[in-house]
């Protein structure tokens, strides 16, 4: 338990590193120097010191968005096994809470965007809720497949598929889940090809459009939430992928952290190598993710 919480704190502290890694990767591919790896920390420190400006149109719902966008990934991180340790908080059916807290955050982030009365933010909110609706079943299908493989109803054991010898029994299904969840990771975290985090002021963007009016500490909450959410989704993939475990300790944590950074590099390479999809194509890719995960379940249940 103590060890799990220690790992959790490490993850919470190092989450803002991941966007930095993605940025560095993209800069490296493009032959630029790029922002420092620690840029997200500098941004957070700056924003927390700043004042706070709100629109006269808004109500308290406007503040609920940033709060929940930081809380949701923290709760989700509590439920995940991190760095070879069991989750800090584990119970039957915790995977459903994992999915639901993100939905709760989405509700309030989108409502906060609508609260400003700005058409840009409304547009972002509409797109975010639309695409998330298509991504969520993929997550659930993947979890169903993992339950089938592991016989467990909680994330800690469900993701520990090595113990069940699942790679030998059902590698096809696992590969399908990994592919599906990687697409979900890109969609849920507003990365290319679904959204371009660098295009701040265009009609094509999704997540960035929703948070246009947030400033100062509220924006810091949102940025930290974004970084941690990416880390949490990366942790899902890394935990499934890690091939070996020493039985606890620094080795596992280092392997896990290396995995997370690896996911960051892969995301950066994806962003360097392709453009954002046209909006009409986005649902098709998400449905593909759902079908892949659904296929994994069908293979296992037969």
């Amino acid at each position: 338990m103590v060890n799990s919480i220690a790992n959790l704190l490490v993850v919470l502290a190092f989450a803002p590193l991941l966007p930095g890694v993605i940025g560095k990767t993209k800069a490296f591919v493009a032959g630029r120097a790029g922002p420092p790896v620690l840029q997200a920390y500098y941004d957070l420190a700056k924003l927390l010191r700043k004042g706070f400006v709100v629109s006269r149109t808004t109500t308290w719902v406007f503040l609920a968005g940033p709060v929940l966008s930081a809380v949701a990934p923290i709760v989700a991180a509590l439920l995940l096994p991190l760095g070879g340790r069991p989750a800090s908080l584990s119970f039957t059916g915790d995977m459903l809470l994992f999915v639901s807290v993100f939905a709760l955050a989405r509700f309030f982030v989108a409502a906060a965007a609508m609260d400003t009365g700005s058409p840009f933010e409304g547009m972002g909110a509409a797109r975010e809720t639309t695409f998330a609706a298509l991504a969520e079943p993929a997550l659930l299908f993947g979890m169903l497949a993992l339950t089938r493989l592991s016989g467990s109803l909680s994330l800690t054991h469900m993701l520990d598929i090595r113990a069940a010898g699942a790679w030998q029994k059902a590698s096809a299904s696992i590969v399908l889940i990994l592919a599906s969840w990687f697409i979900v990771l890109l969609a849920e975290n507003a990365r290319v090809p679904f959204d371009d985090p660098n295009t701040h002021l265009e009609l094509t963007m999704i997540h960035e459009a929703m948070v246009l009016d947030h400033a100062g500490p509220a924006l810091a909450f949102i940025l930290y939430g974004v970084a941690l959410k990416l880390t949490v989704f990366a942790a899902l993939l890394v935990t499934l992928l890690i091939p070996a475990r020493s039985g606890g300790g620094a080795f596992d944590l280092a392997l896990f952290a290396g995995g997370l950074l690896g996911v960051g590099v892969v995301v950066g390479l994806v962003e360097s190598s392709m453009a954002r999809l046209r909006l009409v194509r986005v649902p098709q890719l998400l449905v593909t993710a759902t079908l892949l995960a659904g296929f994994a379940v069908v293979l296992l249940v037969r």
Binding site: L48, F52, V53, V54, S55, R56, T57, T59, V61, V67, A70, V71, I74, V75, F91, T92, G93, L96, L97, V99, S100, V101, A103, L104, R106, F107, A111, M114, D115, T116, G117, S118, P119, E121, G122, A125, A126, T129, A132, A133, E136, P137, L140, M143, L144, T147, R148, G151, S152, L153, L212, D213, G216, P217, A218, F221, P283, G294, V298, V301
Partner: protein, 658 residues
């Protein structure tokens, strides 16, 4: 005095609560006060009786009289009591709500009628739920159907309400007709009118037709797609607290009927579970998609009732699949979740209809895109709507999450069993379907809540200056919001009650199962609430020196409230994806230049795809064909009696010839 006696007294009190008011002149506030007091007293007694029955053993009373069928049986068991609780709670709160919403001084023409039938409908609901035989069941069923017709057409001068009322009346009786056939076959299969578990039923060759007829007949009442045709119009036309009663309670009669029939089965056929899951997913997904396409706040909520009936059916279906596989751990989760969703939907949907009613009362419009920015004027109503919206999306830490958690967990639990095959896939489909439905519901309620309450008023004229709801309306909304929170924050209590009610579905095969899965819910929502509160405090501390400014709009100055994203634009993408199911009407003008000419408008309308695209056109096309029957339909009752006699003689002759 048994719980059943108390319940009988309560039903009589509620059923006649509107009568004294009829003796007083129209427009008298005293008449309304008397009716409300009697109604609330009756509902309190009824809720107490239901609570007693939930805690105690089943009571059965058999009355003998000389009228057919000779006996009337009334039974109050846990399953009945479980459905009775929301009946009395929502009906009682609705009557209090009506004090402010349909005040007698403003509605002298129809207020007395409304309260009279509101009481009768509640008493009829109680009668259906304690009916122990098919006869009393159908009598109660008919009382509810007729009373609901008068409730929907409360405003008899409103053409829309009358149309909705007639469509409702016809559909309700189409459903009842199917039920007549179902109960007739049921009597053949079980050898009696009693609604009690029967081993003969399982072996009967009539089982499949009985179940299919029940799905259709109860489906009409529950608003299951494609039998939902009456539902959106009726809910939209009725007064707010009547919509709440219809949606929260009357629909659940269909679920109750189905559950009561399932409790009579000795064994569950696999196809039944698969059919329930499939029907549930269809109703759930299409219900929420059609809701997304609506511009009318109450029609939007009405389509969400279809969605929630779908969720309940998924729960029952997953449970039935578990029973077919003899896996009680999985079945109990499905049944408990499905039943608990009956309570939850009654709470949050009534809450939403109450707060939508308050908005309509204050602004005089149901058009979502004409509203906006109401949160500043109606803080209480807005907060109540928000609670209902979060709950209906199945989000923690409120009650909708608890029941959907149970149903989804049943899906997961199913996959931990070794066996495979189509039952497994059917059960497994439950969890992703719920996730999809829930995520679509998030989109729909972000749209509804923010278009109505957030941003700036879209139409600055009119009654937008109205204040918050009256005290009686706030009381009813507050109570239901509290109920949503209590079930959400103390899930093991409510889940335990629904599990015990669901034991009726597990039959005699299972002694009470201690299910560890239920306990896992435990402190989770409370914990989450704590985390959110803590983070909220941090946020408030960090941001307390907020400076006010205008909304930043990328360098342009915000030109006015009309630039805001509307509800229709918000839903446009999702509705577009489901165009094949929603079948919206689009009037897209052909533009001859960069700007539309004067009078060119882009409009969308979303009539009900089943009613307005198929049923009504089909009926009017069939009218000319049916006109041929006019020849024999002379309008003389003597002729009709002659037809009956001739038919009977022919039938007798036919039966003799065998």
């Amino acid at each position: 005095m048994t719980a059943l006696d108390l319940l009988a007294a309560a039903a009589l009190l509620v059923g006649f609560s509107g009568l004294p008011g009829l003796l007083l002149p129209p427009g008298s506030a005293a008449a309304q006060r008397v009716a409300t007091v009697l109604h609330v007293l009756g509902c309190a007694a009824g809720a107490a009786a239901a609570a007693l029955a939930l805690a105690g053993d089943a009571v059965t009373v058999r009355l003998t009289w000389s009228w057919p069928p000779g006996t009337a049986t009334f039974a109050l068991d846990r399953l009945s009591a479980f459905f009775l609780v929301p009946v009395f709670v929502v009906s009682g709160l609705g009557s209090i709500y009506g004090e402010g919403y349909w005040a007698e001084e403003h509605h002298p023409k129809n207020g007395r009628k409304l309260r009279c039938f509101y009481g009768v409908a509640t008493a009829g609901l109680a009668l259906v739920l304690v009916a122990g035989d098919a006869w009393s069941f159908l009598v109660g069923w008919e009382i509810v159907s007729l009373a609901a017709f008068f409730l929907v057409t409360t405003d008899q001068d409103d053409a829309g309400a009358l149309r909705a009322g007639w469509i409702y009346l016809v559909s309700a009786h189409a459903g009842t007709l199917v039920l007549f056939a179902m109960f007739a076959l049921l009597r053949d299969a079980t050898g009696g009118w009693l609604l009690a578990p029967s081993d003969a039923l399982g072996a009967s060759p009539l089982l499949r037709p009985i179940l299919l007829l029940a799905l259709a007949g109860f489906g009409f009442k529950a608003g299951m797609i494609p039998f939902h045709i009456w539902l959106p119009d009726a809910h939209a036309a009725a007064p707010g607290h009547v919509s709440a009663l219809l949606s929260g309670i009357v629909l659940k009669l269909g679920i109750y009927g189905l559950v009561r029939l399932l409790s009579m089965l000795p064994a569950y056929p696999t196809w039944l579970g698969l059919a329930l899951v499939a029907l549930g997913i269809t109703s759930g997904v299409l219900g929420v998609v059609m809701a997304l396409a609506q511009h009318d706040l109450k029609r939007l909520l009405a389509y969400h009732s279809i969605e929630n009936i779908g969720i309940i059916l998924i729960g029952l279906g997953v449970g039935a699949l578990g029973m077919a596989q003899h896996r009680l751990d999985w079945a109990v989760l499905g049944f408990a979740g499905g039943l608990l969703h009956v309570w939850n939907h009654a709470a949050f949907k009534s809450l939403l209809f109450y707060s939508a009613g308050a908005v309509i009362h204050a602004t005089g419009t149901r058009e979502i895109d004409a509203l906006g920015g109401l949160f500043r004027r109606m803080r209480f109503t807005g907060a109540a709507f928000l609670v209902g919206a979060v709950a209906i999306c199945g989000l923690p830490p409120l009650n909708g999450f608890v029941s959907e958690w149970l149903i989804a967990l049943a899906s997961f639990r199913a996959l931990t069993h070794e066996s495979g095959g189509v039952e497994m896939l059917g059960a497994a489909a439950g969890a992703p379907a719920l996730a999809f439905i829930g995520a679509l519901a998030v989109a729909c309620f972000v749209k509804a809540f923010s278009a109505v309450f957030l941003g700036r008023p879209r139409r600055p004229d009119g009654k937008h200056g109205a204040g918050d709801a009256s005290r009686s309306m706030r009381f009813s909304m507050g109570s239901l919001a509290l109920a949503c929170a209590v079930i959400g924050l103390w899930p093991t209590g409510a889940a335990g009650i629904s599990r015990r009610a669901g034991e009726a579905l597990l039959g005699t095969r299972a002694s009470p199962i201690a299910n560890a899965d239920l306990g896992a819910l435990g402190g989770m929502p409370l914990f989450l609430l704590g985390v959110i509160t803590a983070a909220g405090i941090v946020a408030v501390v960090l941001t307390r020196k907020a400076a006010l400014t205008t909304t930043w709009d990328c360098g342009y100055s915000l030109s006015g409230p009309r630039i805001q994203y509307t509800a229709s634009s918000f839903a446009e993408m999702l509705v577009g994806m489901f165009r094949w199911a929603v079948l919206p009407d689009e009037h897209r003008p052909r533009l001859k230049g960069p700007f539309p000419a004067a009078g060119q408008r882009f409009e969308t309308h979303t009539p009900d795809p089943a009613l307005d695209r198929f049923v009504l056109p089909g009926l009017s096309r069939g009218k000319s064909l049916l006109g041929l029957l006019h020849v024999i339909q002379a309008g003389r009752i003597q002729a009709y009696i002659l037809y009956i006699v001739v038919t009977l003689v022919l039938l007798l002759a036919w039966s003799w010839s065998w």
